[in-house]
C-alpha cells in the first residue's frame, strides 16, 4: 500500500494551468521531496493532495481514502507544516498544542500528558508558557512541526520547512525530521534547497511548469542527468577562456560571470587553469543543484 498516490492531476486557475498532469507515489516510511523553482506548482500539488482545493481532473488516494471526497478522514491521520507560520499568537506554546488538538477531536485530558514530549521534540522544554511573539523563527518552525504531530500522524506534509531559517536552526529541523523517519513517520516535503533534499530525501521529484520532469533517489538523479565533476570559473578574461574551455570539458555553461565546466574527467580543465593566474576556480563533485539547474534552467523565477 502506498501512503499517497496521485494520478494525472490537473488544476487550472483561469487560463493558467498550474498543475498539468502530475503523478506521485509516496511509499510508507520514506522521506519524499518535491523540488522546483518558485511557481512550479509544488504548493498547489500539496493542497490538492490534502483536499484543500479540488483538481480539475485526476485522482488522489491519501492513506487509503479518496481525496477530496473523504479528505477530512484522511487529514485526521496527516500532519501539516505550512509554508507560512500560522501559530496562534493569542495563545502560549502549550495552549497552541492543546487548542490545535481540539481540531482533531482530542481533548485536553488526552492531550496534556503528551505535551512535554512534544515540547522536548521542538526543543522548547520549559518554554511551555511562553507567548508566540517571544519565540525566534527557528523555535516557531519547530513548534509548528510539533503542532503537526498532535494527532500522531502517519504522514507529515511540509511546505518549505526551513525557508527563512539560519543554518543552525535548519540543521536542528533536519535532525528532528530524520528522527521522525527513524520512528516510521512518512514525510513529504517541498523545498528549493538542494542541500536539504540531498540530505533528507530518500526519493525526490523535480517539478517545473506544473509537471514532474524527473524522479528518483538523489544519487540516481545525479548519475543519470549530469557529469560527475564540476569546475566553476570566474575572474577577468573568463569570456575568452570559455571559448577554450569548450574543447576541454564535455559541457560548458555560463551563468552571469561564472563558467561551469562539467565532465567525467576535469584534469584537462584544471591543467589549463593552473597556468592562468587571473581566473579563480572551484573544483567540486556535481550535486543535485547542478541537476536542478540543468533541468529547470538558470533563468530567474519571480
Amino acid at each position: 500500500m502506498s501512503i499517497l498516490s496521485a494520478r494525472a492531476l490537473r488544476k487550472s486557475y483561469g487560463a493558467l494551468e498550474v498543475v498539468s498532469g502530475v503523478d506521485l507515489e509516496v511509499k510508507p516510511g520514506e522521506c519524499f521531496g518535491l523540488l522546483g523553482p518558485n511557481g512550479a506548482g509544488k504548493t498547489t500539488t500539496l493542497k490538492l493532495c490534502l483536499g484543500l482545493t479540488h483538481p480539475d481532473s485526476g485522482s488522489i488516494e491519501l492513506l487509503g481514502e479518496p481525496v477530496p471526497a473523504r479528505a477530512r478522514q484522511a487529514r485526521a491521520r496527516v500532519g501539516v507544516v505550512p509554508q507560512f507560520d500560522n501559530l496562534d499568537p493569542d495563545f502560549t506554546v502549550t495552549e497552541n498544542l492543546l487548542v490545535y488538538a481540539r481540531y482533531f477531536g482530542l481533548d485536553a485530558k488526552r492531550m496534556r500528558p503528551r505535551v512535554p514530549a512534544l515540547l522536548e521534540f521542538a526543543g522548547l522544554a520549559g518554554r511551555g508558557d511562553a507567548r508566540i511573539g517571544t519565540l525566534s523563527g527557528g523555535m516557531k518552525r519547530r513548534l509548528t512541526l510539533a503542532r503537526a504531530l498532535v494527532n500522531e500522524p502517519q504522514l507529515v506534509i511540509m511546505d518549505e520547512p526551513t525557508t527563512g531559517l539560519d543554518p543552525q536552526a535548519r540543521h536542528l529541523i533536519w535532525e528532528r525530521l530524520r528522527r521522525l523517519t527513524q520512528e516510521g513517520t512518512t514525510l513529504l516535503l517541498t523545498t528549493h534547497f538542494m542541500e536539504e533534499a540531498e540530505r533528507l530525501c530518500h526519493r525526490l521529484a523535480i517539478m517545473d511548469h506544473g509537471r514532474i520532469i524527473t524522479q528518483g533517489t538523489p544519487r540516481d538523479l545525479i548519475a543519470q542527468h549530469i557529469e560527475p565533476q564540476v569546475v566553476e570559473v570566474h575572474g577577468p578574461g573568463y569570456e575568452a577562456w570559455m571559448a577554450r574551455a569548450r574543447h576541454l570539458a564535455a559541457r560548458v555553461e555560463r551563468a552571469g560571470d561564472t563558467v561551469f565546466c562539467y565532465a567525467e574527467d576535469v584534469e584537462p580543465v584544471l591543467k589549463d587553469l593552473a597556468g592562468n593566474h587571473d581566473l579563480v576556480y572551484l573544483h567540486r563533485p556535481a550535486n543535485l543543484e547542478d541537476v536542478f539547474l540543468k533541468l529547470t534552467g538558470r533563468d530567474l523565477r519571480d
Binding site: 486557475y13 490534502l50 484543500l52 482545493t53 479540488h54 483538481p55 480539475d56 477530496p68 477530512r72 478522514q73 487529514r75 485526521a76 501539516v80 505550512p82 507560512f84 507560520d85 500560522n86 501559530l87 496562534d88 499568537p89 493569542d90 495563545f91 495552549e95 487548542v99 490545535y100 481540539r102 481540531y103 482533531f104 477531536g105 494527532n151
Partner: protein
C-alpha cells in the same frame, strides 16, 4: 465543473465547529471584563444623553417615555454592532492576518466548520452585548425581568443575522479599510432608518420600504413590544426575515470564503 459545484455545495458543518467557537472563547475569556464594560458603557452614555436630554424635550412617544423607547432600540443596535465588529475586524484578523483559518483547515476541519464556529461566536458576543442592554433596561424598571429574558432569543437571532452578513463582507475584504464602506454606507443609514431613535412611520413610504427590507428594523419591531410585555402583531414575519438574513447570509459567506481560500 467539479470545482464550481464545490463552491456552491450546501453548508455541511460538523460538530467540530464547537472547537472554533471554543478557541475564540478561550482568547476572549481573558479580556472579558474590559469587553463587558465596553458593552455597557458605550450605549449607556448614548442612552443617558439622548434618553434624558432629548427625552425631556420630547415627552412620551408611542405610549412610553422616550428613554424606554430608545433603550429597547439600543438592545438591538448594540447587538448588531457587537456581531458586526466580531465578524468583520476580529474574523479578518484570524482569516487574513494570523492565518488561523488556514491552520484549522489543515486539521480534519472544513471551512464550513470554521464559518459555523465564527458565526456562532460572533452571535455569542452579540448576545453578551444585547444581554447587557437588557440588564440596564430591566434594572431601570423599563421592562420586567421576564420580558427581558424573553427578548434574549430574539437578540440571538439578530446576532446571527448580522454575524452571517458580516462574515460575507469579511470574505470580500482586502484590508480593514474595506469595512468602513459597510459601516458608513450600510450600518449607519440602517441605524437611522430602523426605528431606533424615532418611529419609522415618520419616514416617507419609500424610505419605510427600504427600512423594512433591512434586518435591524425587524429586530426592533419584536423587541420593543416584547419589553412592554406584548407580542408584536407580525412577530412571526419579523423573526422569519431575521432568520432568512442569517441563513442566506451564512450560505453567501460560505461561498465567498470558499472562493477566497480554497484556491
Amino acid at each position: 465543473m467539479r470545482s464550481r459545484l464545490t463552491l456552491f455545495a450546501p453548508p455541511e458543518p460538523s460538530l467540530r465547529w464547537v472547537a472554533v467557537w471554543r478557541r475564540n472563547w478561550l482568547v476572549w475569556r481573558r479580556l472579558a471584563v474590559p469587553s463587558i464594560l465596553g458593552n455597557l458603557a458605550d450605549p449607556l452614555i448614548m442612552l443617558f444623553a439622548l434618553g434624558y436630554g432629548l427625552g425631556a424635550v420630547l415627552g412620551e412617544i408611542g405610549g412610553t417615555s422616550y428613554f424606554a423607547f430608545l433603550a429597547s432600540g439600543f438592545v438591538c443596535s448594540a447587538t448588531m454592532f457587537a456581531a458586526t465588529f466580531e465578524s468583520l475586524f476580529s474574523a479578518f484578523s484570524r482569516m487574513h492576518v494570523q492565518r488561523t483559518w488556514e491552520a484549522i483547515v489543515n486539521a480534519p476541519m472544513t471551512l464550513d466548520d470554521v464559518l459555523a464556529g465564527e458565526c456562532a461566536w460572533a452571535a455569542t458576543k452579540a448576545l453578551a452585548a444585547g444581554a447587557c442592554m437588557l440588564l440596564i433596561v430591566a434594572s431601570f424598571g423599563y421592562a420586567s425581568a421576564a420580558a427581558a429574558a424573553a427578548a434574549l432569543p430574539v437578540v440571538v437571532l439578530v446576532g446571527l443575522a448580522f454575524a452571517a452578513v458580516g462574515l460575507a463582507i469579511n470574505a470580500l475584504a482586502n484590508g480593514y479599510d474595506f469595512f468602513s464602506y459597510y459601516m458608513t454606507l450600510v450600518l449607519t443609514p440602517m441605524l437611522m432608518l430602523s426605528g431606533i431613535f424615532f418611529p419609522i412611520e415618520q419616514l416617507p413610504a419609500a424610505v419605510q420600504a427600504i427600512a423594512k427590507a433591512l434586518p435591524l428594523y425587524h429586530g426592533v419591531a419584536v423587541v420593543r413590544p416584547l419589553l412592554q410585555g406584548e407580542i408584536a402583531g407580525a412577530a412571526a414575519l419579523h423573526l422569519a426575515v431575521l432568520a432568512a438574513y442569517a441563513i442566506v447570509g451564512f450560505y453567501v459567506a460560505l461561498i465567498l470564503t470558499r472562493r477566497r481560500l480554497l484556491k
